[in-house]
Symmetry: C2
Subunit: 384 residues, 2 copies
DNA sequence: CATGTTATGTTCTTGCCCGGAACAAAATGT
DNA sequence: ACATTTTGTTCCGGGCAAGAACATAACATG
């Protein structure tokens, strides 16, 4: 709750208005935003006028919907700020841009050599596409990012890579976060978890990562490394995990569990292929594959039940392999989840839902945190 | 982010000022509050004057601390609002009052018959002490409270008791919450977790309950039943828990685990005595008792490590039996916690700290949530 | 003991903000 | 053609916090 003078009030309302435009599922009208924010038509007129002169919004006549004087649609200004989003996966990366309102456009993608040199590569791509419209960059990385800079990515053998040493000083304002958390944030802002007050989201890839989502924001923890739900001993596995702990949930859920089961080849590209292969064989009736999928679903459900007792979500989103598991084994997941719930919770169990943002979840989330840095009083002040 | 007119600004700042007085560890001076809120001395003067006329604050000359014109101390007004707090335990209850600033005074206590009739009893006690200063009542109850009204308390055999049927219509504004969560809230507001951005707190009694504390607020979940961390399968127990799930952490941590180990008598009063007895015998060198304490500490540490991976707290508070466990077995708890942490977290493990609020934690937390209902623009408007 | 220093309180002015009222404008419905 | 509905626009009024200047009450210094 920051200090407020009457001048700050204007800034505050400008931010609210821009945030309303950004968060709307479709471009809203000036009149609807005024109603939504509970401000007068006169005030809305003033605010929109200022934001248009600041090249943040553009007004175009709206198609009339009935009686009454027609109003205008609020669109991002053609010279308005853009957020860049980068998704750094285990062997490739993608660069995209998002404009106010959430429209995402892919700009470029590439492979990388699994060393931090990828950041130089990405930096060059950013420089190629950057214009003076670029306001902030968000980066999604498949691993924990302590304090927003120190990377510990076991599957790339990055133990404590300091991001600041790899981001050129010429980089624009940059925020970095974990891909699973950003996938969850994307669902909370623009997907199936929109409007849910308390939600959990899990992104299931090789292992399982996730985030607690409260009122559309992802919980980060004290060192920005919250969300490693996959490294809790929820399913009784006796194995030691490569994270250093024993019995991690991730040993039983995700592609790695399938790879271990079928003695597949190591290596992440190969593992991903094997994962798809197992899904395909299960669909064709292969009993061993089906049983592996069953085990994955059961382990997933057990963990979801346990975590629901602790965090009481209204809904649980799943992405990555989780979408397939819901499609193939919804009943099994829900049953095992219910079995893990305290009895009195079972009547009102959390909804388990498949993410709707899809593979661009991390990219979308990265763009959202970049915009979060833009839609602030501080940034807005630079524009006036 | 609510609507704001310039008139709301004044209300907003009145709330901020009162909140600053309430949250301060000791009565603050007018000048210090002005600095803290970053408002001018003139504005502070106006605000304090208004709040004094509204019988919310009283100003008394402050002892001078050095050079400069002496300022005034901001104290609760002698006719100002009071919050009542009730702690309903398994066989007894306590009623206390809190004034602005956090001073807690016990008013009355009693036994009860383990039926919801306790609420009638408590209601009569509240009526005995209520004056027109009473602004809100907070109640702490040892069990989950779904949606703030439906109670599921297994050890009292309350399956789905509707609180609204037992709270007389004449009751003042009342908020109800779980005792473990409120104990954590008390530590976050007035105890060892004050100022910690992300914290977990666990109240260890017969079993273990807790809460995630974010910026001094307790996470409630979608149905107000978050925090049942004790009902996650974190320690590999094969037993079925009376909650309906299997392998709950609470089966291995808390007084119930000691009772089961020593085949002690059922019943909560007896269990509590046995718990103290085991602690005493362990202190006297009894090997079986010491081993039981060890097992409790090990199970506690394992769970804390697992949960820290997921939630990344800066500090973990413990109350109830947890205070004794820290005193007797800090090393063991920290070791097993570290073993459950992902390796890269071990260098910066969460601090494990004993609560400092003590047995009045639930009562203090209940008073805090009652004051939370008072220190709002809405309530304040009724006072002007 | 007189004077300077420091921190705070008080008063007045100024710039800004939002809401409300009244009116204008642009569409639909009859 | 005219009423109705919804929105945009203009102007005014009440209100707020900041800043400057001054007043005040303590301590510090010699």
């Amino acid at each position: 709750m920051a200090t407020m003078t009457s001048a700050d009030l204007r800034v505050h309302n400008r931010v609210r208005l821009l945030r309303a435009v950004h968060d709307a599922p479709a471009p809203p009208t000036r009149a609807s935003v005024a109603r939504r924010l509970a401000i007068g038509r006169n005030t809305a007129g003033t605010l929109v006028g200022e934001l248009e002169r600041a090249r943040l919004l553009r007004e175009v006549p709206a198609a009339s919907t009935g009686r009454g004087r027609p109003t205008t649609l609020l669109l991002p200004h053609p010279e308005g700020p853009l957020a860049f989003a980068v998704d750094v996966r285990e062997d490739s990366w993608t660069l995209a841009q998002m404009s106010l309102g959430g429209e995402l456009t892919e700009l470029e993608s590439g492979e990388h050599d699994r060393t931090p040199a990828v950041f130089t590569q990405v930096g060059e791509a950013v420089a190629r596409h950057a214009t003076d419209r670029l306001a902030a960059v968000g980066i999604a990385i498949a691993g924990p990012i302590r304090d927003g800079r120190r990377l510990h990515i076991s599957h790339l053998d990055w133990d404590e890579v300091d991001l600041d040493e790899h981001l050129d000083r010429a980089w624009p304002a940059t925020v970095v976060d974990n891909d699973a958390r950003l996938a969850g944030l994307a669902e909370a802002r623009r997907g199936v978890l929109r409007g849910v007050g308390t939600a959990m989201h899990f992104h299931i890839d090789f292992d399982i990562g996730g985030t607690l989502l409260l009122a559309g924001d992802a919980q980060t923890g004290a060192h920005n490394i919250a969300g490693e739900f996959g490294h809790m001993p929820l399913t009784g596995s006796p194995l030691r995990c490569m994270c250093g702990a024993v019995g991690c949930w991730s040993l039983d859920v995700g592609v790695n569990a399938l790879v271990r089961r079928f003695g597949g080849p190591p290596g992440y590209g190969a593992g991903r292929r094997l994962g798809r292969e197992v899904l395909r064989r299960a669909a064709e009736g292969d009993a061993a594959a089906a049983s592996a999928i069953d085990d994955n679903a059961v382990a997933l459900g057990r963990g979801l039940g346990a975590l629901s007792n602790a965090l009481d979500p209204e809904a649980i989103g799943l992405s990555g392999l989780g979408v397939e598991l819901i499609r193939l084994r919804r009943g099994l997941i829900e049953e095992t989840c219910a079995a893990g719930l305290m009895a009195f919770r079972r009547a009102e169990a959390p909804r388990i839902v498949a993410g709707t943002v899809g593979e661009i979840g991390p990219l979308t989330g990265a763009a959202e945190i970049a915009f979060d840095a833009v839609l602030t009083p501080e940034w807005l002040r630079t524009r006036f």
